[in-house]
Amino acid sequence: MKPAPLKYMAATSLDHALRLKADYGGEASFLAGGQSLIPTMNFRLAQPAVLIDINQLSDLAGIARDGQTIHIGAMTRYRALERDPLLADALPLMTEALPHIAHPQIRNRGTLGGNLAHADPASEMPAIVVALGGRLRARSAAAERWIEARDFFVGPLTTALHDDEMLVEIELPAPVPRSGSCFMEVARRRGDFAMVGIALMLTLGKNGDCSSIRIALCGAGETPVDASDAASGLIGQPIDGEAIGDVAASVQQSIDPPGNMQASKEFQRHLAGVLVKRALRAAWERATHG
């Protein structure tokens, strides 16, 4: 229950952090909030030889809106996200999911970037950024690139980041008018990882028909599962009880949940169907009544 010996360095600037990462590569991990990394180190499931602490890099924290785009620095803590009126107004889907993340003490320390880079498939935020169709900015000492959220998560605890890269920014589009969203999850206990969770975002056309729908699930696969294709039959259709049932059945068929100690494969599939119906109804209601 104690971390293995390691070398610790507190980076004083982003360039400093990236130079250190370029030097140490895969031997080194960035230490952001540490709320996933340190428990795995305490269990010795992770034994990074080098930790590059990036908590002093205050430039990496912050939330800003530029027209229809929301920019969130990777070191922005959940605590700041939860209390940000701009975020609640622009991205209610994210605000709705935040209280489901662990407990207040963890959210006081945990960061959005650290969570995404940890890439736990049962975690809420990966599903949120996939459902919102966001993109992520990665930087190395030499270069920078943007990665679409849906391409970022490549497996359990595995991302598209290279050994010399850091996730520095998350960019999310604000929903267009006549949109509604909903996040829900089912967990055995408050604050536990979800057995299944859903992030759903839909937009209505002028006649009230569905004009777009995006669904991402957490806990339902090896990465956040993008089930938008399975729901695409709803596009151009009026939303009613039957259509909602069809989307739920289609999403259930499209996923292959892993099953775990808390919930069997079959139960997870069942929950996914229930959550699709509930979240779709709630998002539809919100899109209709603003």
């Binding site: 229950m1 104690k2 293995a4 390691l6 070398k7 610790y8 709320q35 305490n42 963890i106 408050r190």
Partner: protein, 162 residues
């Protein structure tokens, strides 16, 4: 493997300390074994039980999910810093005593640190908010009811004082 010691200057309960520690030392162990402030308890050491909750720059965090060198230059409050004087308890400590909010007491320091910060942010909480705020601290003795009673009573008393 690296056993280099890091200088750590940290203010705890208003007192400045300078100590050395290996990077891998958890902040919870640093507080207990280097600063000899054993009021911060250690339960699960992976962030689940909440017994080691401290205030880090004013906000409740798990001391077992931070490394000692991360505290360098920061301000910490532990349960030893709550009571205003040796013969007077913090209103929440007093309410925990009056309402039987503890039996074995192991989880109590973590609960006090979590809930004093909660009360500062929510001076007029309802029961549901108190239970939500308590959700990150495990207590195996009380069934939580008396802790909830204590927090609600402390909120009332603290409002009367103001």
């Amino acid at each position: 493997m690296d056993s280099e010691k890091h200088d750590i200057v940290v203010t705890v309960n208003g007192m400045r300390y300078l100590r050395q520690a290996e990077a891998r030392m958890l902040l919870s162990d640093f507080i207990r074994h280097e600063l000899l402030l054993a009021g911060t308890h250690v339960g699960c050491e992976h962030g689940v039980c909440g017994a080691c909750t401290i205030l880090f720059d004013g906000h409740p965090v798990r001391a077992c999910l931070m490394l000692a060198p991360q505290a360098n230059g920061h301000e910490i409050t532990t349960v030893e810093g709550l009571a205003p004087s040796p013969d007077q308890l913090h209103p929440l400590q007093q309410a925990m005593h009056d309402k039987h909010g503890l039996q074995c007491g192991y989880c109590t320091p973590g609960i006090l640190m979590t809930m004093t910060a909660f009360l500062a942010e929510h001076p007029v909480p309802d029961e549901a908010q108190v239970r939500e705020a308590l959700s990150g601290n495990l207590c195996r003795c009380t069934g939580y009811q008396h802790i909830v009673d204590a927090v609600l009573e402390a909120a009332e008393k603290m409002r009367d004082v103001k």
